[in-house]
């Protein structure tokens, strides 16, 4: 669906018989402003507008549409392509619906990201989600740095009767191995591993996460991002992706009223699919990500 603002932009150029360079630029200017106000990254907006301009003028003329209609279609298609993408869930045997790769036994899912983005809460939501689909996840955390971090996950697991394991090692990598061994021993699948929040510029903590990944070989490394993030979304997600090769994104706090342009920025810059959306603090506030809802939200 197209947002109100987008409709207004559409009406403006629909009024013209043919799409001149001048009113195309005006329309693109409006779209640019809407995207910036919606927190899409400045460089991502630049590239997006450039691609739209080329496509609208280019050889891909749709003969049944007026130039103005063509511009609208290109903008909408380009946004949908960016956010959803037909490449979001390639078919691989052993995959669960909604695109998670769980073909190992036990599979390991990492939840990673910046401080406060919602990883611990998302871990318990993901456990409930997978349980409803017939899996037997084990929840565990390697966060040894935040006060009461593991306690938080333990309480969430207890509240909703999810299996939870707390290792005793004081080294993050060894603790991770302990949790994996427990999953293997007790027949749980997958292991959902909550990790400590960290800055992408904290070399030591990023190295620790890479070491954890090298040791546990997770089939899913999900970047948990706060949907109200502004321009910085590109820097942090890009850095995490470069070091870890993320497999997917989870956007949280979509029950707020932020426009969520970070979704576009993160997707554009990492190329990784947005799998899920967090829509509240309760365990059921978790759903498969809907790209079309997101496009109208971002445009405002």
């Amino acid at each position: 669906g197209l947002s109100e603002k987008f409709q207004r932009i559409v009406k403006k150029i629909r009024g013209e018989g043919t799409l001149t360079d001048a009113n195309m630029e005006e329309a693109l200017g409006e779209v640019r402003q809407a995207l910036l106000e919606g927190d899409v990254n400045v460089d991502v907006v630049k590239q997006f507008i450039e691609r739209v301009r080329e496509r609208a003028r280019g050889q891909e003329v749709m003969l049944s549409l007026s130039p103005a209609q063509q511009l609208i279609k290109v903008i909408h298609l380009e946004l949908m392509r960016l956010l959803g993408g037909a490449d979001a869930a390639p078919s691989i045997p052993g995959r669960v619906r909604d695109g998670l790769n769980l073909k190992d036994f036990p599979s390991v899912i990492f939840l990673v990201g910046l401080q406060g983005s919602g990883k611990t809460t998302t871990a318990s939501k993901l456990a409930l989600y997978l349980e409803k689909r017939g899996l037997t996840p084990l929840l565990a955390s390697t966060d040894l740095q935040r006060p009461a971090a593991r306690e938080q996950l333990r309480i969430l697991a207890q509240q909703h009767k999810h299996p939870y394991f707390e290792g005793t090692s004081s080294s993050v990598v060894e603790l991770g191995r302990e949790c994996l061994n427990q999953a293997r021993l007790k027949g749980f699948n997958p292991l959902i591993l909550d990790t400590a929040g960290r800055l992408h510029v904290d070399e030591a903590l990023m190295d620790e996460l890479v070491a954890l990944r090298d040791s546990l070989r997770p089939s899913e490394v999900l970047y948990v991002a706060d949907s109200m993030t502004g321009q910085d979304a590109v820097r942090s997600s890009q850095a995490f992706n470069a070091r870890l090769n993320l497999t997917g994104i989870i956007l949280t706090k979509l029950d707020g009223d932020s426009r969520g342009g970070a979704a576009l920025s993160i997707r554009e810059v990492t190329g990784k699919p947005i799998r899920f959306a967090g829509t509240g603090e309760k365990p059921g506030d978790f759903e498969v990500f809907q790209p079309d809802r997101m496009t109208s939200r971002i445009l405002g």
Binding site: Q33, P147, V201, S258
Partner: protein, 271 residues
Amino acid sequence: FSPLRAVDPAMLDELEERLLAADLGVAASRKLVDELKKRKFASSDEVLPALKAGMVDMLPPPQHHDGVKPWVTLFVGVNGSGKTTTVAKVGRLLKSAGHGVILVAADTFRAAAGEQLEIWAERLDLPVIRQRTGSDPAALVFDGIRAARAQGVDDVLVDTAGRLQTKKHLMAELEKVRRVAARELPGAPHSTLIVLDATVGQNGLVQCREFHQAVPLTGIVLTKMEGTAKGGIVFSIAEELRLPVEYIGVGEKGEDLLPFSPAAFVEALFE
């Protein structure tokens, strides 16, 4: 003698992009650049310093504390912004300045919220008032103020649960906390600080607007500033609501809190 000339449009565009990249937002970036457009300079080297000076001028001075005792500070903000950690850091700072401090763990909702602040209180050797999950946050604030008056404590720092401004019942809960504080101690809460994550985009302005309606804000704490985010949203917040930044958080340890310096902040923005 050097003739005065208008700023090269390419330079203005580049500066506007840097402001946008710092989360100043379309309106504030445009306003600052428009002001540069109106001026003439002897050399292009003078432009950036002029922009920086204009930005420093936009930032209001910190709130004045007039030694009322106990001084009650309420910490509010959306989920995960850094409130609990900030309460601990401010407690440590005040204690090191010789103040008697009481922490109030008024987040009675989130899993392990009380435990988290309790661990901090233990580390910093500060008293903390807390109850079981599900108890009324207003009652805890009431207890905190009572205890502070009885013990002659200088500062009461109240941690609250994270909440999105879209949740009207949670905003109402915050109003109630403020009312109860004011009834128990006229003038309380003397400071109400919204804790903003430096990575927040334009929604940071909406958060301030909405929270300000529920509980009059007196200032901002900008956390996670040692990352790559610039926290530029504070400029439009300053324009619209005249809220000063009181502190910035620069890490996860107790000592990782700095009093806000507009000049240092603007310098860092352009680094």
